[in-house]
Structure formats: C-alpha cells, structure tokens
C-alpha cells in the first residue's frame, strides 16, 4: 500500500493566474447525481448515476494589487459588469507520482469553470482569508497529465511526449493551456501525436490561437478517432518576443 499524499503543496491555476501562493486549502468533489431507478422486482432503493456534480473550492489569504494576488484574479469572475466566460481551473497535487506538485508527467484535475461565490471576512485581528467556489461551466471534470510544467521558455519548445493511448471514435483529446506571463512576441500551442516515443513522424492534431498577451488561457478539444498514435506532446512555437510562462495539461476523455 502506497503512502498517503501529504498536502504540502498543490498548484492551483485559474485561467492565466497562479493562485498557489495565496491558497492553503482545496476541495474537489466529484459526484454523480442520484437518479432514482427502482423497478418492480428490486428489493433495494436503487439509483442510476446521472450527470456529474463537481464541487471545486479553494481558500487562502486575501491580497490584491498584482497578477499574483487572488483578488485581482477572482473579482472579475464575480463582477456582474463583466461578461461571463469559461476559465480552466486546474489542480495539481503532489506525489502524483513525482513528489513536486506540478511536475512534468504528474497528475492534474481540470474543469472549464465559472466562479459562483467569493467570500471575504474575518474577526478583528485575524489574517483576512478568502474562499471561492467554482462549478463546471462547460464540459466535465478531466483527469489530466501535465505535458508542459509551468515554466518560462525563451524559444520554440517541445514538451515531453507521454504515452496516453490512442483516441477512440467516442473519445476526445482535451488540452488546457494556462498562460501566466508573456514578454513580447506571438506564441502558438500545438498538440502532436505519433506512434513512437521519438516523434519521428509527428502529426499536429490541435492548434491553439496565437497568444500575445497574458494572463490568458485556452482549452482545445479534438474528437477522435486517432487510431495508431498513442504518444502525445505539447509544442509551443515562438514568433518574435522574449519569453512566455505557461503550463499545458492533456487528457483523453469521453465525448
């Protein structure tokens, strides 16, 4: 039996904002609706799993003033004067399997989210906390692999290839891009596949819109089938500029 995971760290990315440094608690519950399904002949109160019901909340210490402060990220998501849009929310636990949360090849859970409750307040003398509750705005809960860990890159970069499997006709590829910072230029994410770990005959399966500003985010979905290729990787292509700080997660999901 493996040791339990000590929640010493958890990367929390909301759109193009990294909330990790402000947070000290995380809650992600994945449930299915209990649809009653008892029939004549059943001696039990029977149910059938319905739609996913995803509960995602994070909390920590409140601050404001820059892109690394939670209030700057969260307030626009609650502000009624701002049009509602879907932002990916990604959680990266530690020891999954590498010890460091957010490491290349580690696990990540992602949803395309909207934020529904933002709570501030404390007793006199306490450090002011915050809590934000998110729900799925579109799609579902995705259990993903980090294929480009958060980092600053200065040139066209190929992420590590991962053997995620082939893409069936009822499956789709989901790629989540978080862009935290850009110093000039235009940057394009592509997802490539191949039937070998060396990517000798790589095929581009998805191309994101070029990104020139940050914070930013995109979610790509590509329906199957992709029959023979079971290796996948992210490639970030640079055109001009100096650097980009980004992360990419990838998974194969049911359509």
């Amino acid at each position: 039996m493996a040791d339990p995971c000590l929640l010493s760290d958890c990367k929390i990315w909301l759109g193009g904002y990294d909330l990790t440094g402000a947070c000290n608690k995380v809650q992600l519950t994945a449930a299915k609706r209990d649809n009653p399904n008892g029939r004549f002949g059943d001696v039990v109160d029977a149910f059938h799993p319905g739609l996913q019901q995803i509960d995602a909340s994070v909390g920590g210490f409140w601050s404001a003033g820059s892109v690394t402060d939670p209030d700057d990220a969260i307030w626009p998501r609650i502000d009624p004067s701002v049009a509602v849009s879907s932002w990916p929310l990604t959680f990266c636990p530690p020891t999954s399997p590498s010890t460091a949360a957010g490491a290349d090849g580690n696990l990540a859970y992602s949803i395309q989210s909207a934020q529904f409750r933002y709570t501030l307040g404390a007793q006199h003398g306490e450090s002011l906390p915050f809590d934000v509750v998110s729900r799925v705005k579109s799609g579902a809960l995705y259990r993903q692999t980090i294929v480009l860990p958060k980092g600053t890159i200065n040139a066209t970069t190929q992420g590590t290839g991962r053997q995620l499997g082939t893409l069936g006709s009822t499956q789709k590829l989901v790629a989540v891009l978080h862009v935290f910072a850009i110093v000039g230029g235009s940057w394009v994410l592509t997802i490539e596949s191949d039937d070998n770990a060396g990517f000798a005959t790589a095929v581009v399966r998805a191309t994101a819109t070029a990104v020139t500003t940050a914070p930013n985010r995109q979610v790509l979905e590509v329906n199957g089938p992709v029959a023979l290729d079971d290796y996948w990787r992210a490639v970030v292509t640079k055109t001009g500029g100096t650097s980009i700080t980004a992360a990419v997660t990838l998974s194969i999901e049911n359509q």
């Binding site: 493996a2 449930a31 696990l107």
Partner: protein, 148 residues
C-alpha cells in the same frame, strides 16, 4: 456474551464488474460506514395508539474513507475508473480480514456504483483522504453470507 470486535483489520473489497466474484481489497481504507435501512412507510390506521410504520425498500448509502494517493494503478486511479466509466461492480465487507464464518459473515452488495469521490480535499499540511460514496443500482441484492 462474546467480546466486541475491534475494527482494526476489516475486509473491504470491490470487484471489477458485477460478473466477477473475485473481490480485491480497496486500498488504504480508514473507515467504513454501512447503514442498512428500510424505508419507513407510514402505516397508521384507526385504532393505532402510536405512529406505526411498515418496512419498505432497503437503503444502503455506503461510505468508505481511504488514504488518497496517486501512484499508477493506486487508489485515485482505481476510484476514477469506477466513477468516470460508471462501472457496475460488487462490494463485499467483513468485520475481520480473515476467513468468512458464522462469526465473521460477509455482507455482499451485488450491483453498485461509485457515485462520489474526493480527489483533493484538505488543508495545507493535511494527509489527503478520498471519501467514496456508493449507491445501490437496479437489480442489486443485499446478502449476508457465512460461507462466501
């Protein structure tokens, strides 16, 4: 009067499908809650001095708390497969992880689904736990066996 059973090494297992009798132990179990209930159907009639009930359908909202870990094929992986793919499987419980007997019977649920899990839930510095909630599916039978 028999001594109580110290709940320190229970047998808590699930199968890979309803057609498989082979039960593998759920890894890293910390607690099990298995309330077996019957619906309380109001049944009072003229002449009853008390509020009376007739037993209805069996209910069993089974909850298992486990360690959470993300090793390949480990707890999170096994739970995710059952939750995401809506796999139908069997559950089997015994108070003690030893041979089934009249003093150590098995409770067997023949057709259940994993309706809820908590991949990540905790405060900084906590050990992660995965809270699994099971529901009985149509066609499920609940059996107490002293031989299986």
């Amino acid at each position: 009067m028999a001594d109580p059973v110290v709940f320190k090494n229970a047998f808590t297992a699930w199968s890979s499908s309803t057609g498989s009798a082979a039960a593998t132990q759920i890894p890293g179990v910390k607690s099990v809650e298995m309330p077996l209930t019957k619906a309380e159907l109001a049944n009072s009639v003229m002449g009853d001095g008390a509020e009376t009930f007739h037993p209805g359908l069996i209910g069993a909202q089974i909850a298992v708390m486990t360690r959470q870990e993300f090793t390949t094929g480990g707890m999170d992986s096994q739970a995710w497969t059952r939750w995401n793919s809506e796999t139908k499987f069997r559950l089997k419980f015994r108070a003690v992880n030893s041979a089934v007997s009249s003093s150590n019977p098995s409770y067997i649920f023949s057709r259940v689904g994993l309706f809820s899990m908590t991949p990540m839930s905790g405060q900084h510095g906590a050990l992660l736990e995965n809270s699994l909630q099971f529901r009985l599916l149509s066609g499920c039978t609940v059996t107490r066996s002293t031989s299986t």
